[in-house]
Symmetry: none
Subunit: 248 residues, 2 copies
């Protein structure tokens, strides 16, 4: 697969962006680094002249941007989903730094589509959005002043993807191991989590009115595993078997 084809499998997904200037800045940063696929989940003010102005020579990326209604729609079909996270979470998720993120995304771009999620300027991603991710990435900013501008966060991560693509071209990165099955996509994973939650509720193992951390921990467990399609259908088969045999 060519470099351009791999770049086209990497979706930069801006969630609920408030300032259209940041959308333009993100588009410019992406094009500078050779990326093309911009997704906008419910942008607050868009289209907007300020986005076009800040995009400068990257207006074509804006013109081709996909505007979608939900994160689920944006990550549909993705085999790897990474979310940017500024804060420590109560339940820590597998956390990678931007360099590891660039290498991982570039390596996997040979195999499947990838979604990289960027949150709101003021509040980042919600917990439920973060829980859809396989990994979180944190840009190691100055703890005394850590609020990165959205476009510069896109810049740093796009830069690391580009650095990985260049070292890959030179044969430096080890290739990802061959797996015997294709990885499950984000939407398949989401359906599995719904199936699991319903089953746990029916078994009275999970009380939706007193969820504690059960759902979050299940999501963390099964997302970081990077399940393949067969594994997901195996587990869903097991969940269905559970429900078939439960007392009426």
């Amino acid at each position: 697969m060519s470099t351009v084809e791999r770049q086209a499998k990497i979706r930069m997904i801006l969630v609920n962006t408030s300032h259209p200037g940041n959308i333009g800045g993100a588009a410019r940063a992406m094009k500078n680094m050779g990326l093309t696929e911009l997704y906008l989940v419910q942008p607050k003010e868009y289209p907007a002249p300020r986005a076009v102005w800040r995009a400068a020579g990257a207006r074509d990326l804006l013109a081709n941007a996909r505007i979608v209604e939900s994160v689920d729609e944006a990550i549909k079909g993705c085999g790897l989903v990474v979310g940017t996270s500024a804060r420590e979470r109560r339940i820590p998720w597998p956390l990678i730094n931007p360099r590891e993120c660039g290498m991982k995304i570039w390596q996997e771009s040979e195999h499947h589509d990838i979604g990289l999620l960027f949150g709101r300027e003021d509040r980042g991603l919600t917990n439920s959005e973060l829980h859809k991710c396989h990994y979180h990435v944190h840009i190691p900013s100055n703890p005394e002043y850590s609020s990165l501008n959205l476009a510069t966060a896109v810049q740093v991560l796009a830069y690391e993807i580009r650095m990985a693509s260049l070292s890959d071209a030179e044969g430096v990165l080890p290739a990802m191991n061959d797996w015997d099955q294709p990885l499950a996509t984000a939407d398949e994973l989401e359906s599995f989590h719904e199936h699991l939650a319903e089953t746990m509720e029916e078994l009275k193992f999970y009380d939706p009115n007193n969820p504690k951390q059960l759902i979050t921990r299940m999501r963390r467990l099964f997302n970081r595993t990077r399940m393949d399609k067969m594994e997901v259908s195996m587990l869903r088969g097991l969940l269905s078997a559970t429900r078939r045999t439960r007392p009426k």
Copy 2:
């Protein structure tokens, strides 16, 4: 010498900047990455409200910026001078990439002051300015759209200096965050697998006389995940709930 002292020896020098917004954006990017010393060589329009606005929480860097008349004045006393360069020059200079630049600057910050030069938005550094440098650094942007915004160029190079400072501090790159639970032991994992196999058999989901690859795949799935103790007991709780509710 402390990290803060070393950071204070690294001068980010913006030469003849046209747009004050870029000065503010550069200040913000610097502070995000822990850098403090901003030098402005004959800025075109400064001070300016737009610079303050774009600097956001990095106004202190603007207030402390040194405004000087020449590049020579800005690099006075520096033991290492690096200039950003977009173009191939007729007479090639020692050229490093941003990663090498970050490592070199951080290493040498222990010994002497360092100047990193950023040129004009439209024309970069002049040949005579570039010839004052020990090295040139090139951000490997998309050849089809290589004009990086000034503030994002500052961001990328400041980020690489920070990554170098962190790997220096830890001996390696920032490690994965501490996990909130201890990992399950091999024997706990083994008991879980037995519990899972028994449950699958009772559910008639698994036929021990015709096992196919089910057990193997379940082992591969749950072993590669590196489960923690709480996850194992959560899953075992779920398996027990399944068995409690199955028909007699």
